[in-house]
């Protein structure tokens, strides 16, 4: 009996030579949107139906009867410079030196899902049942044995083919040959998929699902982790500064701030599909911002512990440790923010993310200073100014998102102003109340109440940050897979 795909009109090219790699060629003029490739891919890889390594999206334009409807069948684009790989903290991705296929190792993966943000095409998909990410590997195991990938073998129209491309030439050509309506604008990854478009393309050809907006995952462990690391860093900065200017040692506060950092870091492992392997995330610090974040915060936690210990025991040189704590902490917050600056998440991909993360640290830091300094006017005004800056920055970001020509950024604003309007309003009510209430706060209980309001507002804001982001992606099916 012959092998699947053999006898088909689609044939495999000779293996790539030096400077070459395999790529997909998708011929939109041939695709009839039957989705055989999708089913064949899931059968090939044994994936559950929630996970589709190959997807068929619809694009539509024109005016009846000159309507145009076309399909995009996409697996992984096996980019020349894959961002999934450069972002991966554990080196789970590799670009095969012979075929150029971007491969993912389920054994190495810790399920941090950073690659799912880094890819502008939505290719890597997290499998919660297994705790790891997975993606199209162009059926590496088939290709290297001379068998067609499952999608290509199943396509009745011969719309999906494997080709060999010279990567240096492709760098010059890809802008034209890899672009298509319904695909995200090219990013730095250099997708290798060649797309043949119909000769006549309607100007308004666009994603059939362009109007569909859905909330993204809240990533609760990350909400907790980012806010609390920032709180801890802000508090340590306040403790350090107060030691510097007032020569007062807030040893109890330092222990508390350390505890907050510990909770934050513990929470972060809960975000992983495979927490037991969390330590591996340090591995790729030369390349991955996620590794750097882990590195900085690990160092921060250790230095902070030393600082808190030094303060507790009244050791000399604690101030130096305090400065180090603040520096590594701030570096950690910066690395944290930098993680979110990815083209695939346009609403995150701006300096507003830096501003938000540092403002959270500043707000809770100045509030800590208020509490520790006995509500000095200086500390109070710093808190108030931070809060006001936060409100201005928040409003500015919302305007910027709303007016953005990017559908994804505008979509984020629409989500915030419609389905998320209640939590958004609540977030600002909490912040404003905290700002107004602080001058009237009496004693530790009063400050604690203000802190609870401020912290609650920050948690809410971070929740909104995660759920409101609209990822770039290739066109999808019109109907969302789950009933709304």
């Amino acid at each position: 009996m012959s092998l699947c795909g053999v006898g088909s009109e689609v044939a495999l090219p000779a293996p790539p030579g030096p400077g070459e790699q395999y790529r997909f060629h998708f011929d939109m003029t041939k695709c009839i949107g039957c989705k055989c490739c999708v089913v064949a891919c899931n059968e090939q890889n044994g994936n559950p139906p929630e996970i589709l390594w190959r997807r068929v999206g619809e694009i539509e334009g024109g005016v009846y009867p000159a309507t145009q409807r076309h399909y995009l069948s996409m697996g992984c684009n096996h980019c020349v410079e894959p961002t999934c790989m450069t972002g991966c903290p554990v080196d789970a991705y590799s670009k095969d030196s012979v075929t150029g296929i971007v491969r993912h190792s389920a054994d190495a993966c810790i399920g941090c899902q950073y690659c799912t943000w880094n890819c502008s095409y939505g290719v890597p998909q997290y499998n919660p049942a297994r705790g790891v990410v997975g993606k199209c590997d162009m059926c590496y195991g088939r290709l290297t044995q001379g068998q067609l990938p499952a999608c290509s073998a199943a396509c009745p129209e011969g719309a999906i083919r494997i080709e060999v491309v010279r990567t240096e030439e492709w760098r010059k050509e890809f802008l034209a040959a890899a672009s298509s309506p319904g695909m995200p604008a090219e990013d730095h990854s250099l997708s290798t998929t060649r797309i043949t478009l119909p000769g006549r393309i309607a100007q308004d050809l666009r994603k059939a699902d362009a109007n569909r907006l859905q909330l993204e995952d809240a990533h609760w462990p990350l909400v907790v982790m980012t806010v609390l690391t920032q709180v801890s860093v802000g508090a340590f900065c306040a403790i350090g500064l107060l030691e510097l200017v007032g020569a007062r040692r807030h040893r109890g506060a330092a222990i508390a701030a350390l505890l907050v950092a510990a909770i934050a870091l513990a929470a972060s492992t809960l975000h992983l599909g495979r927490p037991i392997h969390a330590w591996r995330a340090l591995r790729m610090w030369r390349r991955s911002w996620l590794s750097r974040e882990v590195l900085f915060f690990t160092v921060f936690a250790h230095v902070a512990a030393a600082y808190a210990g030094a303060l507790w025991m009244g050791l000399r040189g604690a101030m130096l440790l305090g400065a180090l704590t603040a520096l590594t902490g701030l570096a950690g917050v910066a690395a944290s923010a930098r993680i979110y600056l990815v083209p695939g998440r346009p609403a995150w991909n701006s300096l507003f993310t830096f501003a938000e993360f540092f403002l959270t640290a500043a707000l809770l830091g100045t509030l800590a200073a208020c509490a520790l300094s006995g509500l000095t006017a200086m500390a109070q005004s710093l808190f108030t100014v931070t809060g006001l800056v936060m409100i201005v920055a928040g409003a500015g970001k919302l305007f910027w998102l709303y007016l953005s020509p990017s559908n994804e950024r505008h979509g984020t604003a629409v989500l915030l102003l419609t389905v998320l309007s209640t939590p958004l309003l609540l977030r600002y009510v909490m912040l404003a109340t905290a700002l107004i209430a602080l001058p009237f706060a009496h004693g530790m209980a009063g400050v604690a109440a203000v802190a609870a309001l401020a912290l609650g507002g920050e948690f809410l804001n971070r929740y909104l940050f995660f759920v409101s982001v609209v990822p770039t992606n290739m066109a999808a099916q019109y109907l969302a897979p789950e009933a709304a």
């Binding site: 699947c4 795909g5 088909s8 949107g33 059968e43 009745p156 569909r212 927490p275 559908n407 109907l479």
Partner: protein, 744 residues
């Protein structure tokens, strides 16, 4: 999952690595080991009538994978997405596993003996009280031919009622009636090879890219073809067209007659063929007196120039092919439209030649089998009820008195339902079909089923919307669990095989029929010595011998060997079994005089025209991921993932007027009912004034809206047009996780 396993997984151990392991399978190549089979069983796909050859991979008695058979002439190794996931139908949730009898209002498990006894006793009781014809049987297009042949004899000669029809009347009876009227017999004349050989392909109301994707492969393998697609909706198939004709709903007959007129006026018809092989030319010509491209332009919405151009394209083609499906059939003018198509082929003499044929692309996997052997709309072997010779021939073959063979067909499906409403039919046996989803004007049908004294539903699945109304549910084996043959659209008889055993106590329909015959006391008379489908096939071969649908040269082994054989294939036939065969190449038809009939036809507007209260025309149809009423595909998670629910397509012009936005939930309301909370798709796929709704979904049942209007000849329902209005659904409190973007 044990706590230890849960903890291991949550802590990050890869406890499920084995499920995702790969390996080299000798047949599939490098693949997920979960799909690796120890045996492969060749069979034919059980969804549509394209008739793709496939193999079911079985491991440890379970169907774990499927593959297209690379050697099969129909599909050459390819399958559509439904076919690629067909093994999941076998192990799907909701399979019927035990006979269930309604006792005090609830269905309770009973044994097979009690079930069969109840069926026979209750049917006989109704017949004793109300006469033999007070019992009706509605079957399907999805049994094997052997079962259809057995069922026909059982119902007509054993049970003794003529009121027997199939759900094929909801899809193909129009093509049957059209062929019979024009050519004297049912039977699509062409072959799939024609799609590769034609120079002009005209598809009317046929969305093959959605419904028969594997045929697109044949169209696209033909570099010379000019593809013309007539459809009111810009379907996936319309996107393949070289010439797309955006006709107004059900104006196809006007288009065809105008084309005919142009061809006659231009003298582009084949005078010799018309003179030798047809009758009725003068009447046809006279009937076209008032038909012009200009008048047709007003009806179709096309320009007279386009109509002329298409007529000339067709007339000047050497090998023109006309294919149609439900856009033509689902209509009160369906049969006439088929006759108009046949008229075009006849006046140009383009019939039964390579590439040239008026070709009905069938729906269900074995709708053809029931047409050939089924004993419902005609006697087995395309024999006529009205013909004494035909009846006598069968009586001799079966060794029964000729009087027992009816001289007139019984009621057609819609008329059976109306007879139930009228109290003339009191007991119904429904086999392998789900009318609660598929029959028009749902409320009327529900009323009818409520009137019955006894309802038996025999199905592979339970509960289904229909089995829930049953007094007795008989669990049947489905595709992959039984043996026999299917005939596809091109008259190719292909072998169907059992790969696994049916679940629970489910039995093949064939076994159920023999058990009923046993109980009725007619088994030995009607099915002498029969044990399996092979015995039925042998008798059916003899019954078909000398007929148009001649099976007599076929054997199961030859069918397996050649990937099916196209009939007619007579005993002692000289041509190679695998050769492509066509009908009527010699110009001799199945009429008494051997001549085809040219039949005058007349366009009229569809019955329910839009008005101020119901301003939109509702069109219904399918999506590639689902099969009919979703009893199978609704249980297959990958297909549900890709097509999770129904949607309503509406043109932006209408949406603007109604103030509706994409993804809004809307109500669709007709004079007869309403479909609620359906997701709106605002799209240029449909024309202003029209909306489209896929009919697969029980949850948003299109047949709440459709009407009881039937083709007077074929009795096929007018599913495709009715008038509706659309309103925004009231908001639900839980809404909120999704919104839509309105930007630029």
């Amino acid at each position: 999952m044990s706590f230890a396993r849960w903890l291991a997984r949550k802590s990050g151990l890869d406890t499920r690595a084995e499920e995702y392991a790969y390996g080299n399978d000798p047949v599939l190549g490098y693949t997920s080991l979960a799909k690796s089979a120890d045996t492969w069983v060749s069979t034919t796909c059980g969804y549509c009538s394209v008739g793709c050859g496939m193999q079911i991979g079985v491991r440890d008695g379970k169907a774990v994978s499927v593959r297209g058979n690379p050697e099969h002439p129909v599909n050459r190794g390819k399958l559509c997405p439904k076919g690629l996931a067909e093994h999941y139908a076998i192990s799907a949730e909701g399979r019927a596993t035990h006979p269930m009898l309604r006792v005090d209002g609830t269905l309770e498990r009973v044994g097979w003996d009690a079930a069969i006894e109840t069926l026979v006793e209750r049917m006989r009781a109704v017949q004793r009280k109300h006469g033999p014809e007070s019992v009706g049987v509605i079957s399907t297009g999805q049994l094997v031919t052997e079962e259809f042949y057995a069922l026909g004899k059982l119902v007509q000669l054993g049970l003794g009622t003529r009121n027997y029809d199939g759900n094929t009347t909801l899809c193909m009876s129009t093509a049957v009636a059209g062929y019979k009227r024009s050519f004297g017999s049912d039977g699509p004349p062409g072959a799939y090879e024609d799609l590769e050989q034609a120079d002009v392909i005209l598809l009317i109301g046929a969305n093959i890219a959605e419904n028969h994707p594997i045929l697109c492969m044949r169209v696209d393998a033909n570099p010379r073809r000019t593809l013309i697609v007539a459809d009111p909706r810009v379907t996936k198939t319309a996107m393949m067209a070289d010439v797309y004709l955006p006709v107004k709903p059900r104006s196809d007959l006007a288009l065809l007659n105008a084309m005919l007129r142009v061809i006659l006026d231009e003298g582009l018809y084949d005078r010799e063929y018309v003179a030798r092989h047809t009758t009725g030319f003068a009447e046809l010509r006279a009937s076209l007196e008032s038909v012009t491209p200009e008048s047709a332009a007003k009806i179709t919405g096309l320009t007279p120039e386009v109509i002329r151009k298409v007529a000339l394209l067709y007339a000047r083609a050497e090998r023109p092919f006309i294919g149609w499906t439900m856009g033509v059939n689902h209509s009160t003018k369906g049969t006439e439209t088929v006759n108009a198509i046949n008229n075009l082929a006849l006046v140009t003499g383009k019939i039964g030649q390579p590439g040239a044929s008026p070709f009905s692309i069938t729906g269900q996997c074995n709708a053809m089998g029931t047409r050939e052997a089924g004993f419902s709309s005609s006697l087995p072997g395309y024999r006529k009820f009205e013909s004494k010779d035909d009846r006598e021939e069968l009586a001799r073959l079966w060794n029964v008195a000729v009087e027992r063979i009816p001289a007139q067909r019984g009621l057609a499906y819609p008329d059976i339902i109306e007879a139930v409403v009228a109290g003339k039919i009191r007991a119904l046996w429904i086999i392998g079909t789900n009318p609660i989803v598929s029959f028009p004007n749902l409320d009327l049908l529900k009323h009818a089923l409520g009137q019955l004294e006894f309802l038996v539903v025999q199905d592979g699945f339970h509960p289904t919307p229909t089995t829930e109304h049953a007094d007795l549910v008989l669990p049947a084996a489905i595709w992959g669990e039984k043996e026999g043959t299917y005939t596809n659209s091109e008259r190719r008889v292909s072998k169907v095989n059992a790969a696994v055993t049916p679940p629970g106590e489910a039995r093949s329909d064939f076994d159920i029929f023999l058990a009923v015959a046993e109980r009725l006391g007619c088994r030995e008379e009607l099915f002498p010595g029969w044990q399996g489908p092979g015995d039925a096939f042998e008798e059916w071969k003899r019954a078909s011998w000398g007929r148009l649908c001649d099976y007599s040269g076929m054997t199961y082994a030859a069918l397996e060997q050649h990937g099916g054989i196209q009939w007619p294939y007579a005993l002692g036939a000289k041509d190679a079994p695998a050769a492509s065969r066509r009908l009527y190449a010699d110009g001799v038809f199945q009429t008494d005089d051997g001549r085809a009939r040219l039949l005058p036809t007349e366009w009229t507007p569809f019955p329910e025209q839009p008005n101020g209260e119901f301003p939109l025309v509702l069109n219904t149809g399918r999506t590639v991921e689902h099969w009919h009423t979703r009893t199978k595909t609704g249980a297959i998670s990958i297909l549900e993932r890709m097509a999770p629910r129904a949607w309503l397509e509406m043109n932006p012009t209408d949406a603007t007027v109604l103030g509706l936005r994409p993804h809004d939930r809307v109500e669709v309301i007709s004079r007869r009912g309403r479909v609620s909370r359906i997701e709106l798709r605002i799209t240029e796929i449909v024309a202003p004034g029209q909306v489209f709704l896929p009919f697969h979904f029980f949850e948003t049942n299109a047949n709440q809206l459709t009407q009881s209007a039937y083709d007077p000849i074929s009795r096929e329902p007018n599913f495709k047009q009715c008038s509706v209005r659309v309103e925004r659904s009231p908001l639900h409190a839980h809404e909120g996780a999704q919104t839509s973007l309105h930007h630029g």
